[in-house]
Assembly symmetry: C2
Homo-oligomer: 184 residues x 2
């Protein structure tokens, strides 16, 4: 792999906001030339595929400002500094949907946009749901819906669900449950 | 949906680089309060699941500076301003792998990180491959590999493939081919 690696020569933070930090690094490319890497430092996040006993998925509809669109997504949120991903997932599921889950199964991680951001999103499948009380953040406005898993798979395949973590969470859940059924 | 929408009050561009632009907008939230939205303006990209006649997927291994890791990804790249997504896909497949494809099937889009970036990634399944010549960009260093589709599905399910567009492209291709087999 050595012939692919880039070395940091100089780093400068071009922007530091409430959520994002943007760094511009000068790097030495594998051939010894100099290159520039602009990239976002992100606290990372967690998404939860919450599946009811009726095989329905809990979804949140939320206005996503950068796109100017209301998106259908699995419950998710940013990690607080140093917070365990599982704890973030449990917190966000309850905050956004008002549900708690008895069982959490890891569904791996995803790197949303590896060329220009260091964000890592952890995914979990949550089952054994019980109703509690929703309490979204002060600047968060969302609607909660349910949709059968099989219908969500169709919506993902038809291109109706655009959010990356939701597509991955739904398709991994479908294949995981199918493989468990085959084994049984 | 009206009760979810945020209105732009003021926009300021906090950073403008070669690749990224970062805007900080003041918005009016659905409840009338004021909020801040920090987000990246990105030119958008295209990823291609290139499948050989032997049902192998073409992959590129590439150092991803924000993570400090070599990732396994489907061929992909940024759109030039105004470029048709399909044209970007054809260009990037040939530049990175040295292959051309006779058939392109759309696999939908993905929004990698909808809270803080406006990037849209288009995905295609490419078949009918013929060898041409690879010619990566000057600051791009990568290795090309092949892996059977079924093994890639296992690697995605095992959490070994982190890149979001690669996970989505592989799982959608698997489910699409399975459904075509059932219909036949």
């Amino acid at each position: 792999m050595e012939h692919l690696i880039e070395q940091t020569k100089e780093r400068s933070t071009a922007f530091q906001g409430c959520l994002l930090r943007l760094d511009v690094d000068t790097v030495t490319l594998p051939d010894g030339q100099e290159g520039i890497r602009e990239y976002i430092r992100h606290p990372g996040g967690v998404g939860v595929v919450a599946l009811t006993d009726e095989r329905e998925v809990l979804l949140v509809k939320q206005y996503r400002y950068p796109y100017g669109e209301v998106l259908v997504e699995i419950p998710a949120g940013k990690r607080d500094p140093g917070e365990e991903p599982l704890k973030t997932g449990m917190r966000e599921l309850e905050e956004e949907t008002g549900y708690r889950a008895a069982n959490y199964t890891p569904l791996g991680t995803l790197y949303p946009t590896p060329g220009c951001c260091d964000e890592v999103v952890y995914l979990y499948l949550a089952t054994g749901l019980t109703a509690a009380e929703a309490h979204p953040d002060a600047d968060e406005f969302l609607d909660v819906e349910r949709c059968p898993l099989e219908e969500m798979v169709k919506r993902v395949m038809a291109g109706e669900i655009t959010d990356a973590k939701t597509q991955i969470g739904i398709l991994k859940t479908k294949l995981l449950l199918d493989s468990q059924k085959e084994e049984a």
